[in-house]
Symmetry: D2
Subunit: 361 residues, 4 copies
């Protein structure tokens, strides 16, 4: 209820501040008998980790995750899994300057209006550092989805500023620091990053995530639709300001005769719907896009007020990405995996007896 | 869990199929002592109701709502409120033709893959008729928000096809059948509708909703952010394929120095964030946009398969809107009101003692 | 959250006051394809109904339930089931005398302290009439449990005052107005009831419920144990003041060597545990007992205060049972069935893949 | 959903096995601004800790709790609080003998039927060691209740075997190793314990918990009654087989005229109800009793089967209490505090505006 949990049957509950003692989470609802090691989680944590490229923040955390419970003799036991990452690089002193200021574009003002106080060290609970635990929990979901159902969850950077990266080659995505699937755009991206660093400014981004081989029938009607739960999960990532399923906002100008996905004996002819019909998966690839705002942690001076309500000018010093969208790819993948895992269990609970009689493509 | 509820502290649970006996819902969590009558709900139900203009489906339901519980001597008692609308215009015979077909762009295929069967009459539970109950429940939330907190929730049609309707005049919105705030676009909209009717086709739309005078501090950190819950609620409306908060997808090309909303002693300078910072309301106006796909219930013939997997051609006959976005305005308002109401109660639960010491604009 | 729902995957949400327009509920999470008619629900409703014997209140409600949704062509569709019973015998005038009094032993005082007001007609929401909806929802669960899993849920009156009714013959239970399994006690019960009527007084009772052929493995560790959820469900019935699983309070004086249920190759040797080990069903019969307090709606004058805080003497007039425990048997069965149904779905969700390798007796 | 959480607004989610790396929990929903240190939690942990007296298991764990998040500069921040206790005394080798056996009276059989496997080291997740985290979380609730509302939560040992301990003196409770409020029974208790140790056997117990100065109005009608939630919380403690509120099972033989608690201008005349009317607190002291079965971890040989289904005889070696009820006192207090805390927040959410006009005693 206080907002630190997601999912119903597959449920992730996180804790931890940017500069507190540790980050942790409880992953509840993992079926028993799934092989799981810390290495399974570490791969995605490393993909998300700051300091992995020269384009992301210089903070250097090993982000070494420990599995504290729920795994015995190498497999899950069906009981709650506790995960922990100790914060080793806390450097609280960096942030004392902003203790009495409210950084524009950050959660400083809204947190303080909500709670009457705030942990001002690096954003505290509102820091993107919190997403490390999402990635760790998502890695468990990803593994289950892949191993038990052959579902493949992956994502890429679709756009930074005006540079659009088309999905030319999935292989490319993991071979450059941008998660960019289009090798022709790497130089332009590199140049843009260097210019932003020079300007002390930042830029927005668009990220695309997909899930392939999702069985038809996942998602609940009315409120807990698969796309609605996905919109919730993706919008809950720091800095996300928009979510699209399938064609998204492009449908505004479309006619019904072009937008509907016709069906033939060999399957759907198109996938404008992004794999969801009436809130329930259709068996087609799930496709979602998110818009991430440019971080407000920039060196360009900006106006704000201090605790006394006086006008002050501020710049954000310290370690910050010019484009937070770059590191958002594994986070968005994790959220998609968590939602799918949850709905897979929900579908099994209520409709475990159903034997579909329709063609499945 | 089976998806027919929304909200945690203010919780709406609905039932009912398009052509079943009745639609109903339970609204739980309404504080006691709020004056409430059926007339309070009927106004928004009438705004949503089909058959109110020549541009919407000809189905004529009085949509007369009854309050069955939770109100005594004219005020709410704090116990669960039962609402009921009997379906009077069922006409099941209209739909027998599609019993063994799977309409492209509809939930027929995905429902049947999920449940092994479906109520094929008018879409059953997947029909937009289900949204009547959202509107009724939302009207309770709207009334509470307005009366206790002075919060104003309202919306308008922002775009149909290529016709953009700017927010020129809120007064206009309720005076034309399109909820259009721009009187100069009414002729173009009328012409577009007539052309679509003639073509037997449909078109997408964009709807904008706002909430003014929302106190700062609503929304939970991490997963149950105000914007994430709003994305969930809005994406759960039939036909919605995209949700934006504030500037939405426009942030992809923005720089941090232009996107952050600076703060001065008299308040925020801009509202790119749409009233939400770090998932928590900032006290600025909440702004959200949704993209609605063109309905697939059109007269233009399309390909699909029947229950035997054979290719067939079909057209959708019966009563259908050329643009479902028109009627979505009161539905989107209802969802926004439900989310705000829920978070208002959540904020009071956990932070009821907090006395903010910051300026409030 | 506001307390009108029970269950997670099989979820029942009720509304309605004793003397309001109607009682209703939404039953969410019923798997699709289960044959269901109103007659399936009516049987247990008739067992619970007031006015069925001369020992229960004279209020005459047909308690005719309508299924408003979720059933199509005679089977469940997997979508939410709306149930409704109109209140036909409201007679509000009976209760105007107690409008400004706080009946001792009733919820009048606590409701008014909670909500600042109350529906004083017949107890409003706190009336035992609310349990009609539990019975209707429980009948759906009972049917599913019996049909899909062969589980048999039933109960009996174990004690009224000093009269203990041993489980001699299940056949007897439905053949007398007391749900008494011991034919030798019927005369004594009859005499006790007549004396209580004459005295205008009431008496407590103990009810026992059982579920046979429950598969091993239902229930979650730690908090949502099967016995803990059952304790919650049973304690939520009006007038219940105690819950026991298996031997219950008798264990206080037992030694471990006599209390443990030993295991042999053909099964457990005893069932002190009442079918639950570590919160999880063991495959043995689930056994629970509840203690029901004597109703405070009696003709014996008692002291209370009025709204002005003045001392007054009052008697409860109107239609009341001398022993509410009698009608509690079908209600307790319903609660047991609801809890089992919920955990059956939960077990399937998380452990649907598990193939037990142990002996099952 | 997988059962490792309790509470809605004040929500505790635990993880950890008896002989795993660590125990932990997330406490969500704590209001901000509450002073909190590790020492606040340690007091109750020490009261619960094994090895504190010669009557409890010899396992020696320092049970040193760490607060990992949610507290900043000595006060709670309103964000989730992560707690951790590392397991230092794991000694897995003690338990290898029972790897292929199913201890009678333990969860071995039911866990394995549920999950298809189990962590056999010391009971794994079903071990009473899990309750350490309940005590830690409960200490936070206790502190809030005491500090903000003056509510006092405490408990005592009411009975072991045939020895009844009356509430003669609260001061005594913390001054003997039995939590016994009756100094005249200490010798008898000591003798009983020594006899049980000698016999290698165990005994049941009854524990009483109370909450004083609870405001009227806590608890929800119908399902989430304060007493129902309390029954759930208390029955979820290992070994509990019965729960009573107020007079409990004694009401079975009571008449309404003696059982109702009459009201005078200066308050209630008696408290048979245990502080709850219609599921909602009445402002009187909340009183609950629990029955705890004798532990099955005893030296008296007993019959069971092994994994091959063969009959074997077994004794439980290792460190075990002759009466687990002794250590249950702080655990039961913790559960009561957690439930009250949760309902205090719930009451504030929905009825925060209510100004009671009735006398409050």
């Amino acid at each position: 209820m206080a907002g630190n949990s997601i999912g119903e049957l597959f449920r992730v509950t996180t804790f931890g501040e940017s500069h507190g003692a540790a980050l942790g989470c409880v992953v509840d609802g993992v079926p028993p008998g799934i092989p799981l090691t810390e290495a399974d989680l570490q791969h995605d944590l490393d993909r998300r980790r700051p300091g992995t490229s020269r384009y992301t923040t210089a903070r250097r955390e090993p982000d070494q995750v420990r599995i504290l419970s729920g795994v015995f003799e190498g497999v899950t036991t069906g009981t709650s899994i506790g995960l922990l990452i100790e914060n080793t690089d806390q450097r609280s002193q960096d942030y004392s300057a902003i203790k009495d200021l409210f950084r524009p574009g950050h959660a400083d003002y809204s947190y303080e209006m909500k709670y009457g106080l705030r942990d001002y060290r690096g954003g505290g609970r509102s820091s993107a550092r919190e997403t490390a635990m999402r990635v760790a929990a998502g890695a468990i979901a990803k593994k289950y989805l892949a191993q038990k159902h052959g579902i493949l969850v992956r994502g890429y950077l679709a756009q930074i500023g005006d540079i659009r990266c088309e999905l030319k080659d999935w292989q490319q995505v993991e071979q450059n620091p941008f998660f960019c699937p289009d090798p022709d755009k790497l130089d332009a991206l590199d140049e843009l990053m260097r210019n932003l660093k020079k300007d002390g400014d930042s830029i927005g981004a668009k990220v695309t995530v997909m899930a392939e081989r999702v069985p038809a029938g996942l998602g609940e009607p009315v409120f807990d639709r698969l796309d609605a739960d996905l919109a919730h999960a993706l919008m809950s990532i720091n800095a996300v300001k928009g979510v699209e399923i399938g064609d998204g906002f492009a449908v505004v100008t479309k006619r019904g005769s072009e937008n509907r996905d016709e069906i033939t004996p060999t399957g759907f002819v198109s996938n404008h719907a992004g794999g969801v019909l009436g809130g329930i998966s259709s068996g087609q690839t799930i496709i979602a896009h998110i818009a991430m705002k440019p971080t407000s942690s920039i060196m360009v001076p900006g106006r704000t007020i201090n605790r006394q309500g006086e006008q002050v000018e501020m710049v954000t010093r310290g370690r910050h990405d010019p484009c937070v969208g770059i590191r958002a790819v594994p986070i968005a993948e994790a959220m998609l995996a968590i939602v799918l895992m949850d709905h897979l269990l929900r579908q099994r609970a209520q409709n475990g007896d159903v034997v579909p009689t329709l063609p499945r493509w």
